[in-house]
């Protein structure tokens, strides 16, 4: 009991320090960046969605390592979930005789819709809310529904991870292409004066690659968890 009281007192101290520290936030935070993005963002990057403009152009270096962290986490999950015992003991958790028929039928109806919506969110990422990371997650969820439709489905995790690594290398390659046209790394490979439609080619290409990468990564994580259900 005394430990809990001490804990609450310590949390109160942290809270007080936070409250005092945000009083100076007025000096730290300003809106100059926002005004810059509003004025030049669409013109410089060709993206109406300013979040995509920041993710894929201004701060592309961040996004590359963000995708890299996903790859590292997938490798870690696979490495931890490796079994010492025989692999044939590892059975999928989903029992097809316990899955209700209604759920299976409904999954068959919903699956193509989810896949289409995921691709829409990926490809339209520079015009509407969405992008590679969000759309890739929707595509991954659509793929996961397949396990309810066909529980005996066999997946080759090694192949998926290899494809994911190749796609990640492609992302870095596409991001580095600007060294030949603009002279700097990690930005759009079209000239600054190109039209918005030309710049959109780069944005859609990178969004699609990141979407494929995220979808494959989440698929791998899910299969690793399914195999643990012993």
């Amino acid at each position: 009991m005394s430990r809990q009281i001490l804990l609450i007192v310590l949390l109160g101290v942290i809270f007080g320090v936070f409250t005092v520290s945000i009083l100076e936030l007025e000096e730290l935070y300003n809106s100059f960046g926002k005004e810059y993005f509003l004025e030049y963002g669409a013109q410089q990057t060709g993206s109406n969605n300013l979040v995509t403009a920041i993710l894929l152009d201004y701060r592309l270096f961040d996004s590359l390592f963000e995708a890299g962290i996903l790859l590292i986490a997938v490798s870690g999950v696979i490495w931890i979930s490796k079994h010492d015992i025989e692999e044939k003991n590892a059975k999928f958790m989903i029992d097809k005789y316990k899955t209700p028929d209604l759920f299976v039928t409904f999954s068959r109806l919903v699956y193509p819709l989810m896949l289409t919506f995921g691709f829409y969110v990926v490809i339209n990422g520079h015009l509407s809310p969405g992008g590679g990371f969000q759309g890739g997650t929707i595509v991954a969820t659509a793929i996961l529904i397949l396990y309810y439709i066909d529980a005996d489905k066999e997946t080759n995790i090694g192949l998926i991870v290899t494809v994911e690594k190749v796609v990640y290398l492609l992302v870095i390659l596409v991001a580095s292409l600007s060294i030949f046209t603009r002279g700097t790394f990690f930005t759009n490979f079209f000239e600054l004066g190109a039209s918005a439609d030309q710049k959109a080619i780069y944005l859609v290409l990178l969004n699609v690659l990141i979407g494929i990468k995220v979808a494959l990564g989440l698929w791998t994580i899910f299969t690793a968890f399914l195999k643990e259900g012993r």
Partner: protein, 125 residues
């Protein structure tokens, strides 16, 4: 000039303080939970609080979403939103990795309670 500093939203500090309370709830859960899985979800709660805090930063009343179209003149700050995508992706991967470790701990020690796992002889050495 007033609406630029959206964090103060009409002179109050209410929003950042409330979001920081979510972070504190996560801290409390992290230090008082007996179950390893509950600790993992406390980290998720802390992450949600941080996301709310950052999204509040450039937000103000009447601001449009940062997607340019006809007639949009005042938008919320797009930079915190772009940073928070990173946080969400990293948070989900960290959660997946720690849950996988939880499964391994359960298979090896037969329990996911902190006390039972820590009282084992082979853990102490």
């Amino acid at each position: 000039m007033d609406d630029i500093y959206g964090i103060f939203k009409g002179g109050t500090l209410m929003n950042p303080i409330l979001t920081f309370l979510v972070v504190l709830i996560g801290f409390y859960g992290l230090s008082s939970s007996d179950n390893i899985i509950k600790s993992v979800f406390s980290v998720t709660i802390i992450e949600s609080g941080v996301i709310l805090l950052f999204l509040n930063l450039g937000n103000f009343e009447g601001g449009a979403i940062p997607i340019l179209s006809e007639g949009v003149t005042s938008i919320v700050d797009p930079l915190p939103q772009a940073l928070m995508i990173t946080t969400i992706v990293i948070g989900s991967t960290v959660t997946a990795l720690s849950l996988m470790l939880c499964i391994k701990v359960f298979h090896h020690y037969g329990s996911v309670e902190w006390k039972e796992v820590l009282s084992r002889e082979d853990v102490k050495s």
